[in-house]
């Protein structure tokens, strides 16, 4: 476990993901407002912020499911702002969802099969049963085994327990062997025991993987990421190591939503904090 290891140590220094003044507006509401940050290859970044801070919107723009209203996104130096979601996946982006999006009506095996075909031309294969793709089937079994789902392969996705669904969701994303993985609250709604499982799962992720993780659970964050970025009200307000962020009074107030009497948050400060730390840390 590299709980406190600085980002630079794990990363090669190459920038995996760079986001420049990214913004998205929904009918008058700025969900994400001018976020600028970059993540090195192999880095593990947590994103926190109160509900509605724009974290998921941010992810949706990274994955290409939402078009940004401003700004640009680069993956490994390539501008992907206009690329559709599936093309970004081909470039090595994988993600999971806060509200899990596994494929209902399909069994676990079928879910994983869909995923392992996702990046190869075999996904357009028509003339052979998917069961006949030996290599992919093995891959599915391996994946399932590594997530403890090997006994649940023939169960319909909607019949899984919540924890299993979370695992399957991560498993789907990993099936594509992504180089950047976006995880959206993988521990949400899990029991304490299941949360331990998820932590273990995160720790088994391949080290070269760049991970961006939205999470509220500090325990999960502590064990999984090197750094934390804080989003609030669509804006990027702070970034630092887990310990730094935990001690940051401003962040504490924001994230915990606790307002000291009369202590209004000066907006300028937040903005400055964002740009400064965003620019300084990578």
């Amino acid at each position: 476990m590299n709980t406190t290891a600085p980002a630079q140590a794990a990363s090669t220094g190459e920038v995996a993901l760079r986001v420049e003044s990214l913004g998205r507006q929904f009918a008058g509401v700025k969900a994400v407002d001018g976020v600028t940050l970059s993540v090195s290859r192999g880095a593990r970044l947590g994103i926190i912020g109160p509900n509605g801070a724009g974290k998921t919107t941010f992810f949706n723009m990274l994955s290409g499911e939402l078009k940004p209203t401003s700004g640009r996104i680069e993956m490994f130096g390539q501008d992907v702002t206009r690329l559709p979601a599936h093309r970004r996946v081909a470039l090595g982006l994988g993600r999971t969802y806060q509200v899990t999006r596994v494929l209902h009506g399909l069994t676990v095996r079928e879910n994983l099969t869909v995923a392992v075909h996702g990046l190869s031309r075999s996904k357009l294969g028509l003339l052979r049963s998917w069961r006949a793709y030996r290599r992919q089937m093995e891959q599915v079994e391996e994946l399932a085994a590594s997530f403890g789902l090997e006994n649940r392969l023939d169960v319909l996705a909607e019949a899984l327990s919540h924890g299993e669904v979370r695992q399957l969701d991560v498993c789907l994303a990993l099936a594509l062997k992504p180089s950047i993985l976006l995880l959206d609250e993988p521990a949400a709604g899990l029991s304490p025991a299941e949360r331990v499982d998820i932590r273990a799962l995160l720790n088994r992720l391949p080290p070269e993987l760049t991970l961006i993780l939205i999470e509220h659970d500090m325990d999960v964050l502590r064990s999984a990421v090197d750094e934390i970025a804080v989003l609030h009200h669509g804006e990027y307000v702070a970034r630092g190591s887990v310990a730094e962020i935990q001690q940051n009074e401003l962040v504490r107030e924001l994230y915990l939503g606790k307002q000291a009497e009369g202590a209004e948050l000066p907006k300028e400060t937040a903005l400055n904090a964002g740009t400064e730390s965003g620019g300084g840390l990578v």
């Binding site: 599936h86 899990t100 596994v102 049963s129 327990s161 709604g189």
Partner: protein, 380 residues
């Protein structure tokens, strides 16, 4: 506590598999199993072959059933497995038939006409497809209906080519060695052969990685995109495949009827093929075959004896929609499952259903909608 029982009842429909429209429409199990297919196919041939060889009305009736079954199965490929229920399958049936008829009118032989027709079907599907798959759900219904009306209008009013209202005759059918499709019995068996081939192909497609991802897409298109799928391309390919079988049925229709006229592709006929697929059961592939059998019986058999057969057909269909939205095949399967349970054996759908019923009782949670910033933002 008065409300509790009522609410428990209300909870039921949510679990009922539904038609079309994405996630809600997933059939719990949509996998025809291997051995059954072969037994089924053998039984099917055993049943239909005597009728076909007998020729005449019953031979003709079964031939019609098979032809429409091909079109309806094609519709099911997109509707039942891809969630896009088309109202334009009869338009492609007409297109296929006109492809043959027009080619032959311009002097091409039957085989060439078949080739030209196949190309035309594919071309039209490739051109129209992007328009049609731009929308989903009800939008797709309306769009295919409108596009179908265009094709109908074309056939009706482009008289110089299509022969207009009177249609075009198809005076000779392909001959291949000893097989002479001008003979009704040969034609019938050719239709049976194409039917079996189509059924086999479609079943293969359904169980292929492509078919699997199509089902996944029906469940959650967005997820498929983030798994690397260009979903619109997928829908497009599925659309082309689906309507291709409509066109194929049309080619057979042309030769077995000897005439094609615009009526075959009007609003009612488009509706009828959709009804076949839905009545039989979307997402089952065999259901539409059953649907075709039932509807053709109404249209071509009952109509000889019963004046108000159309009303009867409509009422039966409405009743199915109200009480068995999963269709007749779905009902039969449900019955089989119940029978299985009564016999104390594992449920007919094996592991998956067993798991389902067991799991539903076990406590587990789902975070859907709960504290979902995602949902809120999308809505805003």
């Amino acid at each position: 506590m008065n409300g509790v029982h009522g609410s428990a009842d209300r909870a039921q429909p949510a679990r009922r598999p539904r038609l079309g429209g994405r996630a809600q429409s997933v059939p719990l199990v949509a996998r025809p199993q291997g051995p059954m297919l072969w037994i089924g196919a053998a039984a099917f041939i055993a049943l239909t072959a005597p009728l076909l060889s007998q020729g005449g009305f019953y031979g003709g009736l079964v031939t019609q059933m098979l032809i429409f079954a091909i079109a309806a199965m094609g519709l099911d490929f997109l509707g039942g497995f891809g969630g896009l229920v088309s109202f334009g399958q009869a338009s492609y049936l007409g297109l296929g038939a006109y492809g043959v008829a027009v080619s032959m009118r311009y002097g091409y032989g039957p085989w060439t006409a078949v080739g030209i027709s196949l190309v035309v079907i594919l071309l039209v599907a490739l051109i129209v497809g992007p328009l049609a798959v731009r929308v989903s759900g009800i939008g797709f219904v309306i769009m295919t209906l409108a596009l179908g009306q265009i094709l109908f209008g074309l056939a009706f009013s482009w008289v110089g080519v299509s022969g207009g209202d009177n249609g075009l005759p198809i005076l000779s059918a392909p001959v291949l060695g000893p097989i002479d499709l001008n003979k009704p019995s040969h034609m019938s068996f050719a239709v049976l052969a194409v039917f079996i081939l189509s059924a086999w192909l479609l079943r293969t497609f359904v169980t292929s990685p492509f078919g699997l991802s199509l089902r996944g897409m029906m469940s959650n298109e967005q997820r498929l995109r983030t798994l690397g799928y260009a979903t619109r391309l997928h829908r497009y390919v599925a659309y082309v495949i689906s309507v291709f079988f409509g066109g194929l049925a049309g080619i057979l229709f042309a030769f077995s009827n000897g005439l094609i006229s615009p009526t075959a592709m009007d609003f009612h006929h488009n509706g009828v093929i959709t009804i076949m697929a839905v009545l039989g059961g979307l997402g089952t592939l065999w259901g539409p075959v059953l649907g075709a059998v039932i509807i053709i019986l109404f249209q071509q058999y009952l109509s000889i004896y019963v004046d108000r057969w159309a009303t009867a057909m409509g009422v039966v269909f409405i009743a199915i929609m109200l009480f068995v939205p999963e269709g007749v095949w779905g009902l039969a399967r449900k019955g089989a499952r119940r029978l299985g349970r009564q016999l104390g054996r594992p449920a007919a759908d094996g592991a998956t259903t067993r798991a389902l019923s067991a799991e539903a009782r076990e406590p587990h949670r789902d975070g859907q909608n709960d504290g979902s910033g995602d949902e809120a933002e999308v809505r805003a």
